[in-house]
């Protein structure tokens, strides 16, 4: 988290990923300066949202199972909190829920007290935390920084313990159990931050931007540019046909402007989903669905250019397979020509570091990988054959991990492969100047092609679905996933994903079936396919 003072003496902070500076009190400024753990802060805020949401439903007096009925029980790990931070960035509900929680005569509060006395106590101890809201969310993160300090303060152990319990998300823990959670927090903090970094994608992060931006002493760029999006001008150059709402969103310089622009985009979506023709709406001829298609086309062309495939309709699975083979060939040829050993020191260190960080989701697998690397290494180096073996091994295990849904392990394997590639490139450049550029291009293409091959990233007509592509790409590109990749490719990817995004409301079934359902029950049936293990009944929609 960056901290600063404006020319007129105000205190400002700028958490990682926020679009601009936020004015805070001196105390908050000091707390922010003392400990930058905003990732944890977000996780904890969302953890509160989780428990408040459950309690709210409990107070509604409905059944006794499911999230519709059960508030939180047991504890919530930092990994959970970080995952929630990545998956549920909208904090509007926290504000509402938190405010109700704070109101003593609110029936929700009474229901909560009866069911979860400790939760209620924690809510009162940390009204700011319970109140949430993005503007406050940033301050909450600061508050948690301060809370961690309080936790370590021997003069105030109970407050610290209660806060520790909240950070751990323990809704129904007693004070002694909360104290244990507090003691366990320090290693957890590091892990929580690591996990948050690994799983927070840029777009999730950017979706969370609601803060009111104050005068920024350094930047004159728009909020979206600060988040890593391309400018509207560059978007148009690439062939994106921006609607007025989209143009406003990309030009927004404050959270208010951004919110207004997003409301305009919602209206544009509504028009495209409820009208067949582009009837003028508030003076604009808008059919954003068309522009979404247009964005997909433009993005497909952009990817086609990178892959030297100008005809987008040739991006068939077969062609993608050929392209992948070609890029792999570049690597193999370079390794063949290389005939120089690859230093394995960094690689071994990386694997050891990750094995330490990853925890039970992949500790054993990474320990095995460390042994494999060591067995392939002679005198601290990998020869040609060992390098090829390791590349193949990593590719296979990455795929297996992702296929099994173990995202953390898959990402770790992928990171090891990146380290290996870096080592190969460094040696290749020494042996043959110019090889680095060739390999870098091949690696970029390789990453793109792999992302095109997973899921349904390319439709049968050769048009890329940016969201699917982005999700695939983020899985194997840690720098991108953690928001550190500032290349134009990352910017274009973020922008097109945003432009193609829609709000996730309900499943969509009601809207699609409403016309048929008037006067009768909604239309049902269809589907079919394999069931999960042991299931004889499985369905969706």
């Amino acid at each position: 988290m960056r901290t600063g003072r404006t020319k007129d003496g105000r205190y400002v902070i700028r958490p990682v990923g926020a679009p601009g500076w936020v004015e805070v009190s001196k105390e908050e400024y000091e707390a922010a300066k003392a400990g930058p753990i905003e990732a944890l802060g977000r996780g904890a805020v969302e953890g509160v949202k989780d428990l408040v949401g459950g309690a709210m439903r409990l107070a509604g007096g409905i059944g006794s199972t499911g999230t519709a009925a059960i508030p939180r029980e047991g504890d919530m790990s930092l990994e959970d909190a970080a995952r929630i931070a990545a998956t549920a960035p909208d904090q509007g509900n926290i504000t509402q829920a938190g405010e109700r929680l704070r109101t003593n005569n609110d029936p929700t509060q009474r229901g909560l007290r009866e069911a979860q006395p400790v939760t209620s106590a924690v809510g009162e101890l940390l009204p700011e935390l319970a109140a949430g809201g993005f503007g406050r969310g940033i301050k909450t993160a600061v508050g948690i920084d301060a809370a961690l300090g309080a936790m370590r303060d021997p003069d105030n152990p109970i407050r610290g313990a209660a806060i520790g319990g909240t950070i751990g998300g323990a809704a129904n823990l007693g004070v002694s159990a909360a104290a244990k959670a507090a003691r366990a927090t320090s290693p957890g903090v590091r892990k929580g931050v690591e996990m948050a970094r690994a799983i927070t994608t840029r777009s999730r992060r950017t979706d969370s931007v609601n803060a009111q931006r104050v005068a920024d002493p350094t930047f004159e760029r728009t909020a979206r540019e600060l988040e890593g999006f391309i400018t509207p001008e560059r978007a148009k150059e690439l062939g994106f046909r921006l609607t007025p709402g989209e143009t406003r969103a990309l030009n927004a310089t404050s959270a208010d402007e951004l919110a207004a622009a997003n409301r305009a985009r919602d209206r544009e979506d509504l028009i495209s989903s409820t009208q067949i023709t582009g009837t003028p709406f508030q003076g604009s001829d808008l059919v954003s669905r068309w522009s979404r298609d247009d964005h997909r086309q433009a993005f497909t062309s952009y990817i086609g250019d990178i892959l030297d495939e100008p005809n987008v309709d040739t991006l068939t699975n077969r062609r993608l397979g050929q392209l992948l083979e070609e890029t792999q060939q570049v690597f193999k040829e370079n390794i063949d020509e290389l005939d120089a050993p690859i230093p394995a020191g960094t690689l071994i260190d990386d694997v050891a570091d990750m094995a330490e960080q990853i925890g039970p989701t992949g500790e054993a697998q990474l320990a095995k990988l460390a042994k494999d690397v060591e067995s392939l290494t002679k005198n601290g180096e990998l020869d040609k054959q060992a390098t090829t073996s390791l590349m193949n091994l990593l590719e296979k295990r990455t795929k297996t991990a992702f296929d099994a849904g173990n995202y953390e392990l898959g990402s770790a394997y992928s990171a090891v492969r990146t380290t290996l590639n870096d080592a190969i490139v460094a040696v290749a450049e020494k042996v043959r100047p110019g090889a680095a550029v060739e390999l870098k291009q091949a690696r970029k293409k390789y990453g793109i092609i792999k992302s095109l091959q997973r899921g349904r990233a390319v439709d049968p007509g050769g048009i890329i679905n940016p969201s699917t592509f982005r999700n695939n790409y983020a899985k194997t590109h840690r720098r991108y996933a953690s928001g550190k990749d500032t290349s134009e490719f990352a910017q274009v990817l973020d922008t097109v994903t945003y432009l193609n995004s829609r709000r996730t409301g309900d499943s969509g079934t009601a809207a699609r079936l409403a016309a048929k359902a008037v006067g009768s029950a909604p239309a049902l049936a269809a589907g079919g396919g394999a069931a999960a293990a042991g299931y004889d009944a499985i369905f969706g929609r």
């Binding site: 999230t67 939180r72 959970d80 995952r83 549920a88 849904g405 499943s507 909604p522 079919g528 969706g540």
Partner: protein, 122 residues
């Protein structure tokens, strides 16, 4: 166990069910939907159901958006879901499934109302 941790425990099964929904949602979308209260998650042993309220002008339906498990287990879960549906002012339960459910649920009070058709647009 937290809601999120519980959902993660069912991740494979939820993703398997999503394949029947043509991957209209990712697992993360489901987590977000549950945490924001739009979707209601009912875990039960190895089985689960995810419900949502669908509002129509003349009635509300408690729609089973995703489910996975044995028929018997899901029918057991149906009892509490029905209670909640009443509390949520819904007058029916609904779900979309393959035709095999017609036979399997014929003695459980479920009725076929219509056929859900899709016309893919290239």
């Amino acid at each position: 166990m937290s809601i999120t941790a519980s959902l993660i425990g069912y991740k494979d099964a939820i993703e398997a069910a999503l394949s029947h929904a043509d991957y209209s949602h990712s697992f993360d979308d489901i987590v977000r939907g549950v945490l924001t209260g739009q979707l209601h998650f009912y875990p039960s042993g190895n089985d689960f159901a995810i419900m949502e309220i669908q509002q129509y002008p003349r009635f509300n339906a408690y729609h089973c958006f995703l489910a996975g498990g044995t028929t018997d287990a899901l029918l057991e879960l149906q009892e509490i879901i029905t209670q909640n549906a009443k509390a949520l002012n819904c007058d029916r339960l609904t779900f979309t499934g393959r035709r095999g459910f017609l036979r399997r649920l014929k003695d459980s009070g479920w009725e076929e109302q219509a056929v859900h058709m899709t016309y893919p647009i290239g």
